[in-house]
Amino acid sequence: MDISFYVIQALNGIQYGFLLFLVASGLTLVFGVMGIINLAHGSFFMMGAYLALWLARHTGSLFSALPIALLFATAVAFLAERLAFRHLYRRRHLDHVLLTYGFILIFNELQRILWGNDVHSVPAPDLLAGSIPLTATQSYPVYRIFISIVCLGVAFGLAVAIRSTRFGMAIRAGVVNREMVEALGIDTNKLFAAVFCLGAGLAAFAGMIAAPVEAVYPGIGETFLIVSFVVVVIGGIGSLRGAFVGAMAIGLADAFGKALMPQFAGIGIYAVMAALLLWRPQGLFGEKQA
């Protein structure tokens, strides 16, 4: 095992971590601001992946599929929020679990009706299909680097928006004290809808750009959802910084775990989470007793 092995694993881990960050950031914001536990968050990731697959085939390019799919997924999120989630903001967490479990069944079955049970692959756009040679025998695909760069841009944009726009200020305030935000005259009705759509849009976007590196298969949404839960638990609910650190930790742990100890690949990230919880039950950046 030479240095290029470690470089490749590190790049894979970072790229996976970035995708996780996009999914987990939506999850943690929806938790933090709206107090909603959204199990169906992974469904938006799945929606993105399948829309990318389908639209890329019809339009011929992943890039032209991106805006259409993003618009569609956000519209679905908006409808779900207006028609269903809105009724449950004042209810128990249990009801959120029940509602979103129902949504998972609906989305999964729709996926099965539309695309069946097969595993599909999406080709990377021609422009990014090449590889960068690392050594005489090993190379690294350009598309994976592209994912990392795009996600870095999105993460940066998100951080700036949350730090210095009025919308971002309302989000940060909402995480700290929801009632106070309402009392200050911010229309939480609109704020919640916007946060929910933002979260779903981020997840769908992650699903779209992930489609060429992950196979597109039924259940891909839940796979990412559950790992994103681990990320949020590690980072602390409502913390974007936590989500970022958690996502990178899990991404790297997963990449090196799979390469170095393949027999424990499945349970590795959960062991990382358990160890962290022993030390800090509220996550790295979480407030005590969220």
């Binding site: 249990l94 029940l98 729709l110 638990v233 499945g266 919880l277 039950p281 509220q282 969220a290």
Partner: protein, 319 residues
């Protein structure tokens, strides 16, 4: 207070009697269907102890259900029926110990963290089984035969007949209900219900709430294990899906749909889900879509579950 309690006892006795008569009057198809309802009813009741009484909304409860199912498979002889008197307690013990170990970490957290942590532990158990060739990997493994009750080498009771197996499951359900009811009415039960309402106050009263929550988590795990053992032998087959998060989620749906914190509501929820699955799958192969729509509709319009329908109807009349 007293007459109401007696009325409830009478209703319970009548329900048990009616259930005991199912094998005498119904086709084998319905006996098997009812066995499934009762097995999942035990599973949902065990979750209700955590969700409805202790305030621990676990989304990884299937880990203990599946752990006992796999324990039953590992403990069963290769080509002879297992002895129920040995393998059932041992399988339940495995589930309880696993719940004790994972619960020791999980009950340190609360609220949404708890939901996510239990989900993660459930997935950990799932992958541990899924990735183990010894346990059959993703395909699972078949069990040779239903267990028997044996004394000193001689089998005195055999559960190969579905009707007999149904009665075993019914007896387990009745026993579980009795024990869990006694648990929630005991001083211990008062403490865990106090924790659900206000943990800080219970701590101020001097209770070591962590220990109570952990004990409740382990008891819930043990009864989930009982259900898992029975489920494994009903299908005579185990696979990793038994530990999967869908199974945990479905149990939670049963509990919430039935009515949280009632025990018998969990059994009603189990009946509702199993019968709906059966009914919808007769209609279309895309029954999950209908079930999903049903769940979404019921959570919006039926906030207190099936046992809340009476109060809901009363309100609707007076309106």
């Amino acid at each position: 207070m007293k007459p109401r309690l007696d009325g409830r006892r009478a209703a319970l006795a009548a329900a048990l009697l009616a259930l005991a008569l199912v094998p005498a009057v119904a086709d084998e198809f319905y006996v098997v269907l009812f066995t499934k309802i009762l097995v999942l009813g035990i599973f949902a009741m065990s979750l209700d102890l955590l969700v409805g009484y202790t305030g621990l909304p676990s989304l990884g409860h299937a880990a203990y259900f599946g752990a006992a199912a796999y324990a039953a498979m590992v403990l069963a002889p290769e080509s002879a029926p297992a002895n129920l008197l040995l393998t059932l307690p041992a399988s339940v013990l495995v589930a309880a110990l696993l719940a004790l170990a994972t619960g020791a970490l999980a009950v340190r957290t609360a609220g949404m963290y708890f939901i996510m942590v239990t989900l993660a532990f459930g997935q950990m158990a799932y992958f541990a089984v899924h990735d183990s060739p010894y346990l059959g990997g993703s395909d699972g493994k078949l069990l040779f035969a239903r267990p028997v009750v044996a004394f000193g080498g001689a089998a005195i009771l055999d559960f190969a007949e579905p009707q007999v197996y149904y009665l075993l499951v019914l007896a387990c359900l009745a026993g579980s209900y009795g024990i869990l009811r006694a648990v929630v009415q005991s001083p211990f039960g008062r403490v865990i219900q106090g924790i659900r309402v206000n943990e800080a106050r219970m701590q101020a009263l001097g209770y070591a709430t962590y220990r109570y929550k952990l004990a409740s988590f382990a008891i819930g795990g043990a009864f989930a294990g009982l259900a898992g053992y029975l489920a494994a032998y009903q299908a005579e087959y185990v696979n990793p899906k038994l530990l999967g998060w869908q199974e945990s989620g479905l149990a939670l749906v049963m509990v919430i749909l039935g009515g949280v914190g009632t025990l018998h509501g969990a059994v009603l929820g189990s009946a509702a889900i199993v019968l709906l699955q059966e009914f919808f799958s007769e209609l279309t192969s895309h029954w999950m879509l209908l079930l999903g729509l049903f769940i979404v509709g019921s959570v919006i319009w039926l906030p207190h579950g099936i046992v809340g329908i009476r109060a809901w109807a009363r309100r609707a009349r007076t309106r």
